[in-house]
């Protein structure tokens, strides 16, 4: 009973935070940015390459068990055409309550294909999960074809209806980084950064590439540098949720994790560009950027304030 009494104000506090009014334009920016990113991701050739993979090699995850084998070329083509088309339409803000779920379902199946080969691939999962809160949300009340057609654009509209999807997406992104760091700590402990762990990861990756990766080797050959970068990685991941409490911390964590993904690409050639795009779309206050651009203050940097209220 005591625990319950203590918990209730906290739950109410979380609920209040999630349902704080937000700017319709901020939500529209998420719709445009995340749908646009999804359209680009779904247009890649990797899915056609996986189509018709022999049944014996198929290792389905979750709902992918519904397919007896890897989806065939024809179905993949249909999913790509529908997915890319729907994502572009959603980005434009035309009936996103229908177009965005259509794009999301196509994305979940296509990205599910890459995860049904024996190992979960996380390249698109953050984007897909950050899109979930937008699926039923009123994302086209600003910066959209819908609002132009209705001639009742509400560019300055502020409401809890626009706030919760943005904040829920923020929780998903922050939570993802936190859990990635947490599992490193659980399985490896401080040895993740205090041992040669990162050096061996980078050597393995370089040895597997057609041409030795000199960026990776530069780090792997310097144990002190590998320790520092591994420590920074864990600190960024575990500390990322701070941006939910202290929006100004985004000035450190957002460039930090973008640097992390750029580093991963440079050393290991792993494609986490969808994560970079998702973090930027979700955590940059795009209406503030637009306002500042409109006022001609181009030299000032964008604000990372989570949601302009009032």
């Amino acid at each position: 009973m005591h625990a319950r009494r203590r918990e209730e104000p906290e739950v109410r506090g979380i609920e209040r935070w999630l349902l704080t009014p937000g700017d319709a334009r901020r939500l529209a920016a998420l719709r445009i940015g995340l749908s646009g990113t999804l359209a680009i991701r779904l247009s890649r050739g990797v899915f056609a390459g996986l189509a018709d993979q022999p049944r014996e090699l198929y290792r389905p995850v979750s709902f992918m068990h519904a397919f007896g084998s890897m989806p065939g070329r024809r179905l993949v083509m249909v999913l790509q055409v529908v997915g890319v088309g729907a994502a572009v339409i959603a980005a434009a803000g035309l009936r996103p309550r229908f177009s965005l779920p259509a794009a999301w379902v196509a994305g979940a199946v296509l990205a599910g294909m890459t995860s049904s080969t024996g190992k979960i691939t996380h390249n698109d999962v953050l984007l897909l999960l950050a899109l979930v809160p937008l699926l039923p949300a009123p994302t086209s009340d600003a910066w959209s074809v819908d609002s132009l057609l209705r001639r009742r654009s509400r560019p300055g509209g502020v409401s809890a209806r626009y706030g919760w999807p943005v904040r829920t997406a923020m929780v998903v992104v922050a939570g993802a980084y936190f859990f990635i760091g947490l599992w490193k700590l659980v399985f490896s402990g401080p040895a993740w950064f205090a041992s040669g762990n990162l050096r061996w990861i980078l050597y393995t990756s370089s040895d597997g590439q057609a041409v030795p990766n000199h960026v990776g080797l530069f780090i792997a050959d310097r144990p002190w540098l590998a320790h520092v970068l591994a420590g920074l990685t864990m600190a960024l991941e575990l500390g990322f949720p701070l941006v939910l409490w202290r929006p100004r911390a985004a000035w450190i964590f957002v460039p930090g994790v973008i640097g992390l993904h750029v580093g991963i690409w440079a050393t290991m050639h792993l494609d986490y560009w969808a994560w970079v795009a998702t973090v930027l779309v979700v955590f940059v206050n795009w209406p503030a950027v637009a306002d500042r651009m409109r006022r001609g203050r181009e030299r000032r940097l964008p604000s990372f304030a989570p949601l302009p209220c009032g």
Partner: protein
């Protein structure tokens, strides 16, 4: 000014609560329920001792050629499946190996045999920009492509 929580539809709270609860539960348990995931990325500690899995094809003259996995999307996940090969039932092992052999044979009709190797390396031993030669290289399995011999 709008008040917090003033005008959200009735379904909003259960929707957000259910979604975030599922997200947290799957993340905390560490399982994968795609697209929900346990977020285990590079979480296990690596050591300088490395076990890798490689594949090679053998042509009609008996010459061996390493398989370039990047050329064959169907070979995605090869290392994980190869590591499971010894634990598979004999018919399943044949089926998996033959599927790999078929994928390679499709683009190179000279392939007569597909071989799977397990290699042990010490990553701390370097030969220039590459790992030193493997400590051991063991042939784990071999199979012809379908219709091949």
């Amino acid at each position: 000014m709008a008040k917090p929580t003033d005008d959200v539809p009735r379904w909003t709270r259960p929707f957000v609560a259910t979604f975030l609860a599922a997200f947290l539960l799957v993340a905390l348990v560490g399982v994968d329920a795609w697209p929900l995931t346990g977020w285990r990325l590079f979480s296990h500690l690596r050591s300088s001792h490395q076990t890798t899995w490689n594949a090679a094809t053998v042509d009609a003259a008996g010459a061996e050629h390493p398989v370039r996995f990047a050329r064959f999307p169907a070979m995605r996940g090869f290392s994980l499946l190869a590591a499971q090969l010894p634990r598979l039932s004999p018919p399943r092992r044949v089926a998996v190996c033959t599927a790999w052999a078929a994928a390679v044979h499709e683009s190179d009709r000279t392939v007569r045999l597909f071989r799977v190797y397990r290699m042990e390396r010490d990553l701390s031993q370097r030969a220039g920009d590459r790992a030193a030669p493997p400590l051991s290289r063991t042939l784990v399995y071999a199979c012809p492509p379908p219709g091949g011999a």
